[in-house]
């Protein structure tokens, strides 16, 4: 079942579960010490001197026979896990979603923040050739190819690739279309992997600069990689890593329990509860980061009236939603994205249910006996549950919510412009990226239809501000506004749950999905 051609030639394959995966993510950030429950650091996460050797088998939900190892097509969690084993990005996200240097050793901008010089570290691809500025530009140009639709293309949009140049072997000068103070986030963008200029077939002989080198790949079944001894960040402890695909959660758990795999990704809260502390397997909770929300379309009735939006903020009983829709595996939200991330406005008071005030606001807005349709779908865990819980909560405030369940394969597209109220979720990304993708006039996925010139101007101001604390102040102003009258009712952040066998060590627990340390196997070992 090997593939005969470069899949990218034909068309990017993002698979169905892709969206579940990629952005959906998860994560954790064990920010506030994670109050109660398990320790921050699970047993599996710490302890002992790393031991070299062994093969770790990791089970992920996958994409079936259409899977590819082309890192620029990465979409599912499984794709990303494989991509980060084989490849590197210039930067990647730390636990607070700030960009950390990876293949880039350092970066520095000019005064106006629209020209960035990135210096590469000394690293080699698996065939021994050095990673050069040319490879970087080649990779970014491939992603930005107008004939393709690679996922990272939108993230790289600020870069003027025609004007950007290699300055020597290890220095790239990026020319930007406008000032971008958060340019390092672009380097860490989802899917922005560096492939060699001489890259061949990605599925037969992928060559990267990552911690593992290719051994074999059968789409939809298994991928085996071996330690790359010359990895710039230190050779992995494991001899080999095998990624196997098991789409059913029960199958992943069973395989883990029976010792067929040592690592199972994406488990249910109920499974976690059943096995936590029982000694058979270790449960790792990556806390607080799959954002869970209801989206109100702010450009149409009834949500074009900000009093109605505030009333909805006050209708939500967040504790009940977390307990019901997430089976308790999560934490309440405060209508702001990115709890615990860099620039998060944590000084704003936690919102709680206040039905009297909600009723009063609705009355002021002339929206008593309000009827709204809430779009939901089985596209993400907890969506339909959240919808019916919220329907009951709204009924107490005199609002009738009609829950409409849509197709999961086209859900995200259906709710982008259609309807007035919908279930929504998002994986980890920097707060700046959340704003630029979803909350600006020209944002491509503006599901709350939030379009305000003054808000756009604030974003531009932040991106043009060199000083970090001044920038933080601008982000706080923006978040304050969203908190008061935004369209995202963000009620919670779900845990992301992994299971590992008892002999696995070194699994980082403070690592939201999509960040560097999540699904990272070069620092893991078998005791």
């Amino acid at each position: 079942m090997n593939d005969e051609r470069l899949p990218g030639e034909r068309f990017p394959a993002l698979r169905r579960r892709g969206f579940l995966a990629a952005t959906t993510g998860a994560a954790a950030l064990a920010l506030t010490g994670c109050g109660g429950g398990t320790d921050d650091k699970a047993d599996s996460g710490s302890g002992g001197t790393p031991r070299r050797g062994g093969r770790l088998r990791a089970a992920f939900a996958g994409g079936g026979a259409g899977e590819t190892l082309d890192p620029h097509l990465a979409n599912l969690f499984a794709d990303v896990a494989r991509a980060k084993a084989l490849y590197d990005k210039l930067a990647d996200y730390g636990a607070d979603l700030s960009a950390q240097p990876r293949l880039a050793e350092k970066w520095q901008s000019n005064k106006t923040l629209d020209r960035w010089q990135v210096t590469l570290r000394e690293a080699t691809f698996h065939d021994g050739k050095p990673v050069t500025a040319k490879d970087v530009l080649h990779s970014y140009r491939r992603i930005a190819d107008p004939k393709q639709a690679f996922r990272a293309k939108a993230s790289l949009e600020p870069i003027d690739l025609d004007a950007s140049r290699a300055r020597g072997d290890r220095t790239v000068e990026f020319v930007l279309k406008r000032p971008t103070a958060e340019f390092p986030n672009v380097l860490a963008a989802f899917g922005a992997y560096i492939v060699p200029e001489h890259a061949g077939d990605f599925d037969r002989k992928p060559i990267g600069s990552g911690p593992f080198r290719f051994v074999s790949f059968t789409p939809g079944r298994s991928a085996v990689f071996r330690r790359y001894e010359d990895y710039w960040d230190g050779a992995p402890h494991l001899d080999e890593i095998e990624f196997v695909v098991a789409n059913e959660e029960s199958a992943r758990v069973n395989a883990l329990l029976a010792g067929q795999v040592e690592y199972a990704h994406e488990l249910n809260p109920t499974t976690a509860r059943a096995h936590e502390g029982r000694g058979q397997i270790e449960i790792v909770r990556l806390r607080n980061s799959a954002m869970q929300a209801f989206c109100m379309k702010t450009d149409r009735p009834p949500f074009d009236d900000k009093r109605v939006r505030e009333a909805f903020f006050l209708i939500a009983d967040r504790e009940e939603l977390v307990a019901g829709a997430l089976s308790g595996a999560g934490e309440v939200g405060n209508d702001l994205f990115g709890k615990g991330y860099e620039y998060y406005a944590d000084g704003l008071p936690q919102r709680a249910q206040d039905l009297d005030r909600a009723r009063a606001l609705l009355k002021q807005a002339g929206a008593e006996k309000l009827k709204v349709t809430l779009d939901t779908s089985a596209v993400a865990a907890g969506f339909t549950e959240a919808a019916s819980i919220f329907r009951d909560q709204a009924a107490e405030a005199g609002v009738t919510i009609d829950v409409k369940t849509g197709s999961k394969d086209s859900y995200w597209s259906d709710i982008l412009d259609g309807g007035t109220l919908c279930c929504y979720r998002s994986g980890a990304m920097p707060i700046e990226a959340h704003i630029s993708q979803r909350l600006l006039t020209d944002s491509t996925t503006n599901a709350t239809q939030w379009r305000h010139k003054d808000f756009d101007a604030l974003y531009q101001q932040a991106q043009s501000t060199r000083d970090k604390s001044e920038r933080a102040a601008v982000y706080e102003r923006m978040q304050r506004r969203l908190y008061t009258e935004g369209g995202f009712l963000i009620w919670g952040f779900a845990d992301w749950i992994l299971g590992t066998s008892r002999k696995v060590r070194g699994v980082e627990t403070k690592a939201p999905a999509n960040t560097l340390d999540w699904a990272r196997f070069d620092k893991v070992w078998l005791a």
């Binding site: 079942m1 593939d3 005969e4 051609r5 899949p7 030639e9 034909r10 068309f11 990017p12 394959a13 993002l14 698979r15 169905r16 892709g18 969206f19 579940l20 990629a22 952005t23 959906t24 088998r57 079936g64 026979a65 259409g66 899977e67 590819t68 979409n75 004939k147 393709q148 293309k153 939108a154 059968t218 789409p219 939809g220 079944r221 298994s222 095998e242 196997v244 695909v245 098991a246 789409n247 059913e248 029960s250 199958a251 069973n254 395989a255 329990l257 029976a258 067929q260 795999v261 849509g406 197709s407 394969d409 086209s410 995200w412 597209s413 259906d414 982008l416 998002s426 491509t444 996925t445």
Partner: protein
């Protein structure tokens, strides 16, 4: 597509030949109809491959460019015609999402499906017939009642529940067998232990239905005047049982077997998912979710042809065994 009508015939080998020819023509028409229907239904699903592909990044510009790259912006009938044009050459087209040949998808999923089907069948036939004959020979007595009630009870358990039960007991509790085929995707035959539980689950219901059919057919025949007549002539019991009564049960059993093989080959999604066996059912499920129309159509052709051929074979067997049935049909 599941119910090809029983053939008519006028007896004799020539009759059989024209019967087969007519059935094959009809089968071709049926398969074409199935493919058309599947195409229409897939087109009618909300969202297309571009939307499914874009997932939670439904940027309209991106969807438009994906659509263009996939040629989805061309009219549906043109895409169908293009795809159909490749069929006579054995070209099933290429997947929309990965650009790989559809034939590769089918070949990849067919191996595991065929292996499971063959193993299941190899055990199903002796077990099903054995139990049926056993019950019929002891009609009304303890063994019959035991066999009948157990088969009825097992039949009532959904595969999914049975699978979970078997895994918890034999794989997790007793640790006798592996719970999934994870990691052995390409080499199932080399690790027979992983096949035991899936085959047991697959066997459970067909064994019950087959043995009940065999029993009913035999009991019917044994109560018939011709069996009574044979006995009066002093034909030995065994001969009455196996030469007279059993063939009477074979015709419906053959039909039932054909349906079971069809079911096994066309993807048994529950078992595949539970035990992580990447067969045709998994391929189909993924393809529908991705709106990967060429793959769905390719599978529709394969499933259609399989169904037609298997039903035809069953009818021929039935025709051979009980020529009288043909007259009635």
């Amino acid at each position: 597509m599941k119910t090809a009508p029983r053939g008519t015939s006028s007896g004799g080998p020539g009759g059989l030949r024209s019967f087969v020819a007519r059935r094959l023509t009809l089968g071709l028409v049926q398969t074409a109809a199935v493919v058309l229907l599947v195409f229409a239904l897939t087109e009618a699903l909300p969202g297309d491959a571009a939307v499914a592909l874009a997932g939670d990044q439904p940027d309209p510009a991106r969807i438009a460019s994906i659509r263009e790259a996939m040629d989805l912006d061309r009219p549906a009938h043109e895409r169908l015609a293009d795809w159909a044009a490749g069929l006579p050459r054995g070209d099933f087209g290429t997947s929309l999402t990965s650009g790989r040949p559809v034939a590769e998808y089918i070949a990849g999923g067919f191996g595991p499906s065929l292996l499971l089907a063959a193993l299941t069948l190899a055990l199903l036939v002796p077990l099903g017939f054995g139990l049926g004959v056993l019950a019929a020979r002891h009609e009304g007595r303890l063994i019959d009642r035991l066999v009948s009630s157990v088969t009825l009870a097992v039949y009532a358990v959904p595969e999914f529940a049975l699978g979970v039960l078997l895994v918890s007991v034999f794989a997790l509790k007793l640790a006798w067998l592996p719970p999934t085929a994870v990691g052995y995707g390409t080499d199932l035959i080399g690790h027979p232990a992983v096949l035991v539980l899936p085959v047991l689950v697959l066997l459970a219901r067909p064994v019950c239905s087959l043995s009940r059919l065999v029993r009913a057919g035999m009991v019917d025949a044994l109560a018939s005047p011709y069996a009574a007549h044979a006995r009066r002539y002093g034909v030995p019991g065994a001969r009455v049982h196996y030469a007279h009564a059993l063939p009477n049960a074979l015709a419906p059993a053959a039909q039932q077997l054909a349906r079971t093989i069809d079911w096994l080959l066309c993807g048994v999604i529950v078992v595949e998912a539970l035990f992580v066996i990447p067969g045709l059912g998994t391929v189909l499920l993924n393809a529908v979710a991705e709106r990967d129309v060429p793959v769905v159509q390719g599978l529709a052709v394969v499933f259609g042809v399989l169904t037609v051929v298997l039903n035809l074979a069953a009818d021929v067997v039935a025709y051979r065994l009980t020529p009288r049935a043909g007259v009635a049909a």
